[in-house]
């Protein structure tokens, strides 16, 4: 099942947090006590923050610090205004984005939300509500804070995941280093996992290099590949066939015992593929093909 918080409407998100209009009324009421004291809040909050090593790194610059401080006051002002609409949700997403971008960790964010809650409910509270009202205000504050946290965390973790998969993709794309190791011989060591996109990259790269160099042999060493499933095997066949059309023989080297075993288990027909256990064997074969002997 695909559950994407981004596709949820604001009303759905509110329902998810058992948050309704009466809660928002309570948050606003509590806000009449807190909003005039937000400067005071910031002083208390930044006393706490000064102790955290992470924040010291991030806020070494006083200008950055000043901007963060005023953004934070604005954030709580909007929180206590409690006008929860699409715009409100969008502002929270922005916070998640900023935190992900500057690398502020989720534990620190949680701790900061917690300390803010304590400042609002213990240090800045003036006893101005009846006890029943106070407890429903606390419950409403908690729910709205969790609502905000859900959105921030969702955005944050999605962006971090995107970043990780971009990094691993970038790594894979960088690693198609086809080199001409000898007149007429090209070689490519493949490391990691071959998916269809990467197989496509390899195919395009090698074909254009064959065009440039008129190489007669292409050695693809897959000793750094952990898994060859039927789709990968199919890609490898296509690569060897297409180089063959350009008059270049493909040799696949570095087939580990584990890979040889799974290829047999899968029932893949390897008749048309030239493969060797080691790169050395492939090189010997390559030299034979180009008519050279090495001793």
């Amino acid at each position: 099942m695909q559950t994407d918080l981004r596709e949820m409407k604001t009303s759905g998100l509110m329902k998810m947090h058992d948050l309704d209009e009466s809660d928002l009324v309570m948050v606003r009421k509590y806000g009449t006590i807190i909003s005039p004291k937000l400067e005071e809040y910031a002083v208390l909050f930044y006393e706490w923050i000064a102790e955290l090593p992470e924040y010291q790194v991030l806020f070494s610059n006083p200008e950055v610090m000043g901007r963060a401080r005023s953004e934070q006051i604005n954030y709580w002002r909007s929180f206590f205004n409690a006008r929860v609409d699409d715009n409100y949700v969008q502002e929270r997403r922005k916070i998640g984005e900023v935190h992900a971008r500057v690398g502020l960790s989720l534990p620190s964010y949680f701790a900061a939300m917690n300390v803010s809650f304590i400042i609002f409910t213990k240090k800045l509270y003036d006893g101005g509500l009846y006890s029943e009202e106070y407890s429903s205000a606390i419950s409403a504050l908690t729910k709205l804070m969790h609502f905000d946290i859900t959105i921030v965390v969702e955005t944050y973790s999605r962006l971090i995941n995107e970043r990780i998969s971009k990094q691993s993709k970038a790594l894979m794309e960088m690693s198609t280093p086809v080199t001409q190791i000898w007149q007429d011989i090209l070689m490519l060591p493949v490391v990691g996992i071959i998916d269809s996109k990467r197989a496509q990259d390899i195919m395009m790269t090698i074909l254009s290099r064959i065009g440039e160099t008129r190489a007669k042999v292409f050695i693809m060493d897959i000793s750094g590949v952990a898994v060859v499933d039927s789709a990968v095997a199919n890609h490898l066949f296509k690569i060897t066939k297409s180089t063959g059309l350009m008059g270049c023989v493909s040799l696949i080297s570095g087939i580990s015992p584990a890979i040889a075993q799974t290829i047999v288990n899968l029932g893949i027909n390897v008749d048309e593929v030239n493969s060797t256990a080691t790169l050395r064997d492939a090189l010997e074969q390559a030299f034979k093909i180009i008519g050279r002997t090495v001793t």
């Binding site: 099942m1 998916d195 952990a226 898994v227 199919n234 580990s256």
Partner: protein
């Protein structure tokens, strides 16, 4: 969340080829660190790759569970709510493919594991459960 630390389950959302790659890489390194057996890691990771790729190819998205049972077996469950398989017997044959690919995924997985169970209903989805027993020396 799994209460029994000896037999943790891992769940992967499978929505695209990147997700498949993630599940394959993580399971490979998990098995290597548990059993230090490249043959086993390669086989299980290959099964995961076949089952998860089928989800992406035929059902768009689904889920994959890997269950390590106290070091004596590894269970994989691949589940989707896709179109289902009309003729299971045919799908299990070598070289049958409705997409023109090799048609060796399902029969190949079956040859690599000790238990293989497939449930499928047209328009409701497919659930494949496989288990590999670990030989401890």
């Amino acid at each position: 969340m799994d209460a029994n630390l000896d037999s943790p389950s891992e769940r992967f959302d499978i929505n695209n080829e990147d997700d498949v790659r993630g599940a394959v890489m993580l399971s490979y390194s998990e098995i290597m660190s548990r059993f230090n057996d490249a043959g086993l890691a390669t086989q299980i990771a290959t099964c995961i790759s076949e089952l998860a790729m089928n989800i992406v190819k035929y059902a768009q998205y689904g889920e994959l569970y890997i269950h390590y049972q106290s070091n004596y077996s590894i269970e994989i469950i691949a589940e989707d709510r896709g179109p289902g398989i009309a003729n299971i017997e045919q799908a299990m044959q070598d070289h049958f493919s409705s997409k023109g690919t090799l048609g060796l995924g399902l029969p190949g997985v079956k040859r690599m594991v000790d238990e293989f169970e497939i449930q499928s209903q047209i328009n409701h989805g497919t659930r494949i459960r496989v288990k590999k027993w670990i030989n401890q020396y």
